[in-house]
Symmetry: C2
Subunit: 198 residues, 2 copies
């Protein structure tokens, strides 16, 4: 039994009072996926509607800009959901690429299959609701940080709230998530150090 299944069973119990023994119809449709460091999980143009729970590792979602550069939309790590949002929300080929930054273990399900399961087992519906709310919450937080904070403040925030993450991930991806260039992030770090010393 994978650790993520236990976690999700606990979640289902908390959300809907469903006992682990009664979750078989759902977890029968999930499978474990293992990704090597730097391995791509979803490619640009892929149409699979993948939904996954991260058991171990870090995933990065990014897009290729019109000028060819990459822009990192977000990072997700242990106990978080990651979903091919273009395919799930809009049923269109993914413009985004999802890639593991570390050796990563996922518990995945095809969203179409999940919908089938939900038709016969509506009692699992709170779980879908939960992950949609979680993703919405995270997106709104990020939006909020863009309209209320300067790049430096956003970086300080990230350090304060996700110090572990910043240390596990190359700065260039952090910079991109913050909406700035790696050069600019480097200068922010320097300014922060200088202030700290002075």
């Amino acid at each position: 039994m994978s650790a993520s299944i236990t976690t999700l069973q606990q979640l289902l119990f908390d959300l809907a009072g469903i006992l682990p023994a009664d979750t078989a119809p759902l977890f029968a449709m999930t499978r474990q996926a293992k990704l090597a460091a730097n391995e791509t999980y979803i490619r640009e143009g892929d149409t699979e509607r993948r939904l996954a729970f991260i058991e171990q590792g870090i995933m990065r979602a990014y897009i290729i800009k019109s000028n060819g550069d990459e822009a990192t939309l977000f990072l997700r790590w242990e106990k978080q959901f990651i979903a091919s949002h273009d395919t799930i929300i809009h049923r269109r080929p993914s413009r985004f690429i999802y890639r593991a930054l570390e050796p990563t273990t996922l518990l995945e399900i095809d969203y179409d299959v999940l919908e089938e399961v939900l038709k016969t087992h509506p009692e699992y519906e709170p779980l879908r609701n939960f992950f949609l709310m979680r993703m919405l919450s995270e997106s709104l937080n990020i939006m909020e940080s863009f309209v209320t904070l300067s790049p430096e403040e956003r970086y300080r925030n990230l350090l304060a709230e996700r110090f572990d993450l910043v240390n596990r991930v190359p700065d260039k991806y952090i910079a991109s998530m913050l909406g700035i260039t790696p050069v600019s992030l480097s200068r922010i770090r320097k300014r922060m150090l200088d202030k700290g010393k002075g």
Copy 2:
């Protein structure tokens, strides 16, 4: 019968094949709210879990920054949903303020009441799913624009996609949504004009 009810009945039919005649248990719990221009719908600190569909008008969601300035998170208008997301997602008092920019008509429901209705009428569940996905989609779009586009490009985007909106709303709110100051937006507009002429 309000126009929004008809719209939402159509939506429920498209999503779940539910006939308008069978939507009474849901719409019995909704009510129309009318707001004057500049009237506040949800205050900072409010705990009501309000979910509304905008029949007519424009709503602005904003937050008071630590320095006292306002930051506009988003605008919503006809046929869109607006929800007190702090209270609904986190069950905490709203840090955001929701205010009408024009005389506005909403069809509203209390989220707790909606959840009660959904317990006895799970057939409406696709509607909740729909609005969560819609909001998630919009948030992700905005996030994407922050990491892939410059302020000027974000403004051009907004003009291209929501020209009508830009003309209905004071520039200062547009600027704030774009993550810049009104002064800076004014300069962007000037640069765009100059380029167009030159």
